[in-house]
């Protein structure tokens, strides 16, 4: 535990390009202008973050209620249900679909979505011949206003590296087997454009309302690692 605590301090204090030598992981083996033995930064991330937050609140640098509001926003208000509404609208309304593909920001804003990490949106459409897959190989870029914060797998080294090299293999791991004649387009979110996949509308939805269709749309389909299954017989249709 002590080593973890010291590693955190080492990372925090020396991260700016300084080489972290093996000796740095043992506080007593290196010299600093302060004494690590007197520091009270806890080892566990939960305690560490709590101590940091409390310091920042005491200094008047952050507002406790603002932190609660941010967390509440992404736990309860902004998530893949937003994107599902966009997709269902595009399925229901061909003119909206056209606007969504050509002026994505404005079309998404029509439903009241936009903003942080979705300031500049691009929507790419799946068809029987083309399958789109979204990744951020450099970090974890993801369209927050329509999908919320990214899941752990999207941020994992495995997904980030393998999805560009072997997209078909990655899709197979998600249970999606594409025919050889389907074209795969991988979108690496290297700039400030954020990508949303418009999945194919499944059969059996002809009589469904927009809200019912939105209920079928999954996060994974809007990232491009899944298709949307046709509704089960005797269901909402």
């Amino acid at each position: 535990m002590t080593t973890t605590r010291r590693d955190f301090l080492t990372a925090a204090v020396t991260a700016a390009g300084a080489a972290v030598t093996p000796g740095h992981t043992l506080a007593h083996e290196h010299t600093h202008d302060h004494d690590h033995d007197h520091q009270v930064v806890p080892s566990d991330p939960a305690l560490r973050v709590k101590a940091l937050e409390s310091l920042l609140v005491e200094k008047g640098l952050v507002d406790h209620a603002a932190l609660d509001a941010l967390i509440d926003t992404y736990e309860h208000k902004v998530g893949p249900r937003n994107g599902a509404r966009v997709v269902a609208r595009a399925w229901a309304d061909p003119e909206y679909r056209q606007r969504l593909l050509t002026s994505s920001d404005a079309a998404i804003a029509e439903l009241g979505y936009g903003g942080l990490q979705g300031e500049h949106m691009v929507v790419v459409e799946n068809t029987p011949r083309v399958h789109n897959l979204v990744v951020c190989t450099l970090c974890s870029c993801y369209p927050w206003p329509v999908l919320g914060l990214p899941p752990v797998w999207y941020k994992s080294a495995a997904y980030r590296s393998r999805s560009v090299i072997d997209p078909r293999g990655v899709l197979r791991e998600f249970g999606l087997y594409l025919a050889d004649d389907v074209e795969v387009r991988v979108w690496d979110s290297t700039a400030e454009l954020r990508y949303l996949v418009l999945p194919e509308r499944p059969s059996g939805t002809e009589e469904m309302s927009e809200a019912e269709m939105a209920g079928l749309v999954t996060r994974d389909a809007m990232v491009g690692v899944a298709k949307i299954a046709a509704p089960v017989e005797g269901g909402a249709a």
Binding site: V13, Q39, E58, K59, V62, T73, H120, A158, D188
Partner: protein, 213 residues
């Protein structure tokens, strides 16, 4: 790298401290002492052995801590004692709960409404420069030296390489550039597939005829 491991019914935050880390990072960003690219760069500066050991939000906190120290928002003594320097005056947070909905809804646009000539046109064959910046860059290694086609012009955006180092925004065009999967990965890739990257003017050069061969 191993298999992708999706988690069923994954929560937004696995532990309360992850949510606090996320929120503290966003709230401290409101001080305007750094920008998104500087934050990303700071996370990239974490030593690789630590980077892969840490969880995602542990990296955020490590980078945030360093940025706060660098910009004198906190001191190392305060960090270690957990208490404010008694000589420092209490401040007023720029991000209050009332302002959160505006931040979320408005975001922090990276597009710049300035007239900058585009160096390339849609349909043009280009090559990603074979450059190796020591600072922050958004030009992935796997594309460097590879030939692709301008698929669309996204317009003018600030340039991360200079922005991350506080050397100016250097606004320029960003393009969606299509690279054939075989150009990037060789014959093991499907000839039908492609990878699209969003690349700035400074990352690209016109492709010479011989480079396409």
């Amino acid at each position: 790298m191993g298999p992708i491991q999706p988690e069923k019914n994954e929560p937004v935050f696995h532990e309360p401290w992850e949510g606090r880390s996320y929120a503290v990072t966003r709230a401290m960003g409101a001080w305007g002492r750094w920008n998104l690219d500087a934050s990303r760069f700071q996370r990239e500066l974490i030593a690789p052995v630590d980077y892969f050991r840490m969880g995602y939000y542990e990296r955020w906190i490590a980078a945030l801590t360093e940025l706060m120290l660098k910009t004198d928002l906190i001191t190392s003594t305060e960090l270690e004692s957990g208490r404010p320097d008694p000589r420092s005056a209490k401040q007023h947070p720029p991000l209050t709960a009332e302002k959160v909905p505006f931040l979320v809804a408005k975001g922090i646009p990276a597009r710049r409404n300035v007239q900058v000539a585009a160096c390339f046109t849609v349909g043009q064959t280009v090559r990603a420069r074979n450059i190796h910046p020591v600072g922050h860059t958004r030009l992935p290694r796997y594309a460097r030296g590879r030939t692709g086609t301008i698929d669309r012009d996204h317009g003018v955006f600030l340039f991360p390489d200079t922005n991350a180092l506080f050397l100016g925004e250097k606004p320029q065009h960003v393009y969606s550039v299509r690279f054939a999967a075989c150009e990037l990965w060789g014959d093991q890739a499907s000839p039908k597939d492609s990878v699209y990257l969003d690349l700035w003017d400074d990352y690209l050069e016109p492709a010479r005829i011989d480079s396409a061969v």
